[in-house]
């Protein structure tokens, strides 16, 4: 039961695209825990490590030569802003996993700078997740995770790890950076899974 607040009327926005508790943002706010790490595409790599330790690595040239997709999607940040109809280009995680044998149920995304976040592997498959390197037709800027970030738009945006450099496939779930600090393991914006226990 919510406490009714005297004098508050609020601004009604009945946009069905906005999950509960979110407001519409036209800018592109930045959320991160430390300085923007310098990531050079000359040395950039992306590595998928399976539960048995097998590694598949792409360098920038190989990665950007993979079949890419244009993605138009809404994004939802746990800090309550949502941005509708954003345009990205990147490689589907399906494409990356195509030739990889795994029985893993979870993945840990790892980033330059040390950030991590955990996502169930099925949430990265079937056209639901990408490694994106372009935003609005331009190379992805460093403060938004460039040169490449994970894009998992159906979950709160902290799951879309910036400066991503790999996925560790895991049989069992583990907490990533924000998840250790009390944020939700799954992070579905439509169920308002912001913090543990939501």
């Amino acid at each position: 039961m919510s406490t009714v607040t005297r004098g508050f009327t609020g601004r009604r926005r009945d946009d069905p695209k906005l999950p509960p508790g979110q407001y519409l943002e036209h800018g592109f706010p930045v959320l991160q825990a430390g300085p923007t790490p310098p990531v050079n595409t000359a040395t950039w790599t992306f590595t998928i490590t399976t539960e048995t330790g097998g590694k598949t690595t792409w360098n920038w040239q190989e990665f950007t030569a993979l079949p890419a997709e244009d993605i138009t999607t809404d994004i939802h940040c746990v800090t309550q802003w949502s941005k509708l109809g954003t345009h990205w280009r990147g490689v589907s995680v399906d494409t990356l996993l195509m030739s990889i044998e795994t029985n893993a149920a979870y993945a840990m995304a790892r980033s330059y700078g040390g950030y991590t976040t955990n996502v169930p592997l099925p949430d990265l498959r079937d056209g639901k997740a990408w490694v994106a390197y372009s935003y609005d037709g331009k190379p992805l800027r460093p403060e938004h995770g460039g040169p490449a970030r994970l894009l998992v738009p159906h979950l709160y945006f902290w799951k879309s790890a910036k400066w991503v450099t790999g996925l560790d496939l895991m049989l069992h779930d583990k907490h990533g950076f924000w998840e250790q600090l009390g944020y939700h393991d799954y992070g579905d914006p439509w169920r308002e899974q912001r913090y543990q226990g939501d």
Binding site: S2, T3, V4, T5, R6, G7, F8, T9, G10, R11, R12, G21, Y23, E25, H26, G27, F28, P29, V30, L31, Q32, A33, G34, P35, T36, P37, T79, Q80, W81, G113, G114, E143, F177, W178, Q180, L181, G182, Y195, Q196, G197, D198
Partner: protein, 261 residues
């Protein structure tokens, strides 16, 4: 801190406004009584949920400005300082309409990364842009309340001296604590409007740059614990300058707020 935050389920609690105090023309501090508040570490936030008479709700996170417990040793009390945003939905209510006795729901504390531990032996280096001072003020208050001895330097960027939040308290604390404050005023023309800067602190009338950083921050050799909070552009600039000057990226914690709110 027996009641301090551990990750776990966050429950909504009723907050009652105890006091409302204007800090600047657009920022106001609300003192809240929250029975059962579990305590917080300096730097953490609280989620505020406002509910209209018809059940419509709007929710935002705000940094907590007070130490815990507050200096009156009130475990159920916390303060937020809210900057009114022109296009905001929640901030205009909190910064203009809320009065003592008004109630809304809060939950927290939220965020366990951008926090300072009073037992940290490193010098404390703080960079505030605008209302980014709020969580850093919680650290400064906790520093004096805990009796920590490490030196603290605050570099605080505001548009004009009239936009500085907590100026009197910062002046006072400079006299009694190992705290040094430097102000950066980024908007020209305030002197002509008769606005006076703080006289007891070094100030510059420009944005942060490498030269000011070298003159005001602890040197790299002092290995400070560094916190940067403010609008995204300020945080990007300050953290990039720090890294370029040789400070370890892992010792710099940042918190940004974008537009909206």
């Amino acid at each position: 801190m027996a009641r301090a935050a551990v990750p776990g389920r966050l429950t909504w609690r009723v907050a009652t406004v105890k006091e409302a105090k204007d800090e600047t023309a657009t920022a106001r501090t609300l003192t809240l009584d929250v029975p059962g508040w579990p305590g917080h570490s300096p730097g953490q936030h609280v989620a505020v949920k406002l509910t209209a008479a018809d059940g419509y709700t709007a929710q935002r996170d705000y940094s907590i400005g007070s130490a815990w417990p507050t200096s009156g040793a009130e475990p159920d009390r916390l303060e937020i300082t809210v900057q009114r945003l022109a296009d905001g939905e929640v901030s205009p209510y909190l910064a203009e309409i809320a009065e003592p006795g008004d109630q809304f729901d809060v939950r927290g504390p939220i965020g366990g990364w951008f926090t300072w531990d009073p037992s940290d032996p490193r010098p404390l280096l703080l960079f505030a842009g605008g209302s980014g001072i709020v969580p850093l003020m919680s650290m400064i208050r906790t520093h004096s309340q805990s009796g920590a001895k490490v030196p603290v330097r605050l570099i605080y960027s505001a548009r004009t001296p009239a936009d500085v939040i907590y100026q009197d308290e910062l002046s006072q604390r400079q006299r009694v604590s190992p705290l040094t404050v430097t102000y950066l005023y980024t908007r020209a023309g305030w002197a002509a409007r008769g606005i006076l800067p703080a006289r007891d602190a070094r100030s510059y009338t420009t944005r942060l740059n490498a030269k000011i950083l070298a003159e005001t921050a602890f040197p790299v050799s002092a290995t400070p614990a560094t916190f940067v909070c403010g609008p995204s552009g300020f945080v990007e600039a300050a953290s990039s300058l720090l890294v370029a000057a040789g400070h370890a990226p892992g010792a710099i914690k940042t918190e940004r707020f974008g537009p909206g709110g």
